[in-house]
């Protein structure tokens, strides 16, 4: 990949969501840079990811832990397992800097999570910060804002 085209960036975002839907979690973990964060704020417009509560703020270790836990024999909330389903709107390329190899996309999506007879539907927006490293796009930061982030939820078990 010389410089990623618009399609490359859009395809990346779609492919990331598909990995989660397909349960290809190890591939998914490999999409991230070592010092990257997955952030899901608790509050609309939240700027501080450390000194107020967030829903998720996960570094590489925590993401790996969550994935390994899914696989575990004694992971009771995952017996039976949760499955998820993303429907994405076409991502916008909000920022591109080919010189630095940095790109930002903005994607609206609907997310469905199901387990046993329960199914939840969430509306959300993802902001991906991507970096071109050795010819591959990697995620340095992903922020997911739930439309109703301040609502009372039951379990949300997967990554959106």
């Amino acid at each position: 990949m010389a410089f990623p085209t618009r399609d490359d960036l859009i395809d990346f975002v779609y492919e990331e969501a598909r990995m989660l839907d397909d349960g290809r979690f190890d591939e998914w973990l490999d999409l991230w840079t070592p010092d990257s964060f997955y952030w899901m704020p608790l509050d609309y417009n939240q700027q501080d990811d450390r000194h107020v509560t967030s829903l998720l703020h996960e570094d590489a270790f925590m993401r790996k832990l969550r994935i390994e836990r899914f696989k575990g024999e004694r992971t009771f909330s995952q017996k039976p397992k949760t499955r998820c389903h993303h429907v994405l709107q076409r991502p916008f390329i909000d920022h591109r800097d080919d010189e630095k190899g940095e790109y930002t996309t903005h994607t609206s999506f609907h997310y469905v999570e199901t387990r046993l007879d329960d199914q939840i539907l969430l509306a959300a927006t993802a902001r991906h910060e991507l970096k071109l490293i050795d010819g591959r796009l990697k995620i340095t930061h992903k922020r997911v804002d739930l439309l109703n982030s301040d609502a009372a939820f039951g379990n949300i078990q997967m990554f959106l």
Binding site: M40, H51, T53, L55, L56, D59, S77, G154, Q157
Partner: protein, 443 residues
């Protein structure tokens, strides 16, 4: 068919020394009676004063299932009012927080009320001339709750006008709030952001009991805490690498039974109690640079050591909150229905202390108590399985027998083995007391 309404004998029969009847968790009528009696006779947490710092600032919340407004009146004191217009019942405010200025104005017909609830004005008031309005209940305005107490920033209310005195109700259990507040070099806490809101399809008491259930972490949370430890051990890292903050928070959940046995449980009268008398899962957190020095400067070394040496784990304030002094967290278990509970988890900033403490607190809240938490997921799974399982006719009773001793006296403070279910029994003892207190009939 009413099985329980105001029948104190029937209510008393639900609690035996070592077991309680399932109707305590699943029966709608028992739930209604809890709202009418238990949540009206006890001192229930409403909010923290820092949520309403300025005059006219308010929050809306519930005491049991009763909608209330906590507001800072023009005299600077905090009032708690029923959130109901005395005209036709409209809720006066529905946003979770706001500022109303000097008065509330009902959005339906514009009756207005001072921030202590008193009626201020009615448009076109002449329409009530000679109607006897002055003798009505409506003319009194928004009804205040029975009693309010601001204890070191924590606002509690009792719905009933008559009932136990605040100090008598809480007694020495207030030492846990004291310790949390004393951890600020300035002796002051401030709420940090909105709470997590986590809906549980189970009875509120399951959550309260879980706070002192020390035999579940290493079982229910093996998948998160156990896996975390495994991953950390497998990870390639330079010798002596410091555990990250997240590991410090999550790993102690896998501590063995002896750890929990030795930590101890203390119970106080009226259903209050705490785990972690001698040590707790919060004892071994890394020191935060600069904090101890600030504490010594504020309190002197001996007192600073005493404050920080107290590492209580979970303190339950009956009926429905838990606080963690060492990490400045409060969880409010709001009953919604017999099978529905809204859990709100708040965190507080220690005013004058380093921000890194708050960072750890926010991390704890997120990792352990969020709807997205790997630890919370397994707790909720257990509660919801129990709520469903209790409908089985295989057995009608729930066992609370661990380390039971005949003739337990809950009016006495006791310190026992940290795996005892005495605190659960203590809660049920208080449950019966405050359920039946206003039911009439002979005790």
């Amino acid at each position: 068919m009413s099985r329980y309404a105001s029948d104190r004998r029937a209510i008393e029969a639900l609690v035996r020394p070592t077991e309680v009847h399932r109707d305590i968790y699943i029966d709608e009528e028992v739930f209604e009676l809890e709202m009418k009696h238990l949540f009206a006779n006890t001192w229930v947490f409403v909010g923290h004063e820092s949520q309403t710092p300025g005059k006219g600032d308010y929050i809306t919340t519930e005491i049991g299932t009763q909608p209330v407004i906590m507001v800072r009146h023009t005299d600077g004191e905090i009032r708690v009012l029923h959130n109901r217009c005395p005209h036709k019942g409209t809720k006066i405010a529905i946003d979770r927080a706001g500022n109303t200025g000097k008065f509330f104005r009902c959005p339906y017909h514009a009756w207005s009320f001072k921030t202590d609830g008193c009626l201020l004005a009615i448009p076109l008031r002449k329409g009530y001339k000679d109607t006897g309005l002055e003798e009505s209940e409506s003319v009194k305005g928004m009804a205040p709750v029975g009693a309010v107490k601001n204890y070191r920033g924590f606002v509690f209310a009792r719905l009933n006008a008559e009932g136990p005195d605040f100090e008598d109700f809480f007694g020495q259990s207030l030492s846990s709030i004291d310790n949390m507040v004393d951890r600020s070099p300035e002796g002051r806490l401030e709420v940090a952001g909105p709470p997590l809101r986590y809906m549980h399809r189970c009875n509120w008491k399951m959550l309260v009991e879980n706070q002192t259930d020390t035999c579940h972490p290493m079982v229910a949370h093996e998948s998160s805490a156990g896996t975390a430890i495994e991953l950390w051990e497998q990870m390639e890292k330079p010798e002596g690498t410091k555990k990250p903050m997240a590991m410090e928070v999550i790993a102690p959940f896998m501590s063995p039974y002896e750890f929990f046995e030795n930590m101890g449980i203390r119970t106080w009268p009226n259903g209050h109690g705490h785990t972690g008398v001698h040590h707790s899962i919060h004892s071994d957190y890394s020191a935060i640079p600069g904090y101890f020095e600030q504490m010594v400067a504020a309190y002197g070394e001996e007192r600073a050591r005493a404050i920080l040496g107290e590492n209580r784990h979970n303190t339950v304030y009956f009926p429905n909150i838990m606080i963690k002094g060492p990490i400045q967290q409060l969880r409010l278990f709001k009953p919604v229905a017999a099978n529905r509970t809204l859990v709100e988890s708040y965190i507080y900033r220690l005013v004058g202390a380093p921000d890194m403490l708050l960072e750890r607190t926010a991390m704890y809240n997120r990792l352990i108590n969020a709807p997205t938490s790997m630890v919370g997921h397994d707790d909720l799974e257990m509660y919801e399985r129990a709520q469903e399982g209790l409908h089985s006719d295989g057995l009608e009773w729930v066992n609370v027998q661990r380390l039971y001793a005949p003739d337990e006296n809950f009016d006495e403070i006791a310190v026992e083995n940290g795996t005892t279910e005495r605190q659960m029994r203590n809660q049920f003892h208080a449950w019966t007391k405050y359920m039946t207190m206003t039911m009439g009939g002979d005790a």
